[in-house]
Symmetry: C2
Subunit: 243 residues, 2 copies
């Protein structure tokens, strides 16, 4: 069995019942707006683990709301290294550019099977014209993404590896928690040591050493597609010690 249950090619899910709704672009919409919103949804698709939603240099004419699954956004360097920019979860909005005909400058790859909702440029423009709250929400999403990136830049630039890892994990655990995951038991965690290493700017070998250290300290055990938090308080304390 794969990590997460394969997503059936199922009937389209309505916006109203979509599990990602609480975290998505349209979280503040009224019932009436939601109906309109749904009409302008272009397509609903699935990705298999390993598939790209888009690649650096692509010019996708849509933006995407991730309904279910994990997606990794990253930039690739000329020497083949990656910098993971963000991990996207249910509700996250990806691929939007002010000018959709301009190339996107990072890649997005599914790390698990995913279900995704697409909006064409045309429909996005119509939605934005229709609803001022959606504009507000879009600006707010961009702001959040920028803040996350600034924070990441800060700890990647300045903190030692152990704290980078702690901060990164707390960040992800909080997001999972908000989505109803019980972090007191073993959780599906589809990122490899290498994925995490690329996110916090260290090598996978060093990532492993630091991971071992946190495990031996009985704080958190993170490997083989699972994470088990033994002492969230201690982990949060480590993370908090950065700022």
């Amino acid at each position: 069995m794969s990590l997460l249950p394969k997503l059936p090619i199922e009937e389209k899910i309505s916006c109203e019942t979509c599990s990602s709704r609480r975290h998505a672009w349209f979280k503040q919409c009224s019932q009436k707006d939601l109906e309109h919103f749904q009409l302008l949804r272009s397509t609903q698709t699935t990705l298999k683990a390993g598939d790209y939603l888009f690649m650096e240099g692509d010019t996708p004419n849509s933006a995407y709301t991730l309904q279910e699954g994990w997606i990794l956004c990253f930039k690739t360097l000329s020497n083949g290294q990656r910098q993971v920019l963000s991990v996207a979860f249910s509700g996250d909005f990806l691929g939007y550019r002010t000018k959709m005909n301009q190339a996107i400058n990072y890649s997005a790859m599914a790390v698990t099977d995913c279900r995704i909702c697409s909006f064409s440029e045309k429909n996005i423009i119509q939605l934005l014209q229709h609803s001022p709250e959606l504009i507000q929400s879009l600006i707010s999403i961009q702001e959040t993404q920028a803040n996350t990136c600034r924070t990441r830049l800060t700890y990647v630039g300045q903190a030692p590896a152990k704290l980078k890892l702690a901060y990164f994990l707390v960040d992800i655990l909080n997001k999972l928690k908000m989505r109803g995951v019980d972090i007191n038991q073993s959780i599906d965690f589809p990122l490899t040591h290498e994925d995490v290493a690329d996110a916090i700017g260290i090598t996978s070998v060093h990532m492993c050493r630091v991971a071992v250290e946190l495990r031996r300290a009985n704080i958190v055990d993170c490997r083989h597609n699972h994470i088990r938090v033994h002492d969230f308080e201690a982990l949060k304390e480590l993370a908090a010690s950065v700022f």
Copy 2:
């Protein structure tokens, strides 16, 4: 004499004649809109080198357009280290948040004397309601800032010190060039080695070593408030080799 001529406490400059206009939020405004814009400008102020525009944790009720001068945005860590997030120039828009009553999570400090144009939250809201192009422009500004941050994160996380420095300098030189500075001669450069080091995630001692290396290679000489580019092509080539 100070690095840059002291800014006289002069008469308010009109938006129309403001030197930052070409790079600013309102760069696409019509003549008519510009007049309206100017009416809603709240105040025009000056900062002395070293002054804070705002500090992490503040809740300024205005956003700012930098008219003239250099401003450094940075986050501070608990151990006293800084991560410089961006260097702002003429035309850059600072301090905006979707909810202006929420605290800002980084600081902005003048590194030279600056002239600044403020917009109160109330007036920003009115401007945005008045002009859809301003909304568009705001989203576009946010997008650019996020892209810059993602790029910085990538090279800070993955590149060796020499390439980080090259990329950072090319970035700044390009911005200066866009603002009409002739980069073929010695240029005012008010950042210390320490400022640059904090931007690219290394120590000032190591920054110095790398700076010496680039100088000995006859590529660029950067110290004591001046930068002199000897071989911009070579510098750009170094920077380009990151991605």
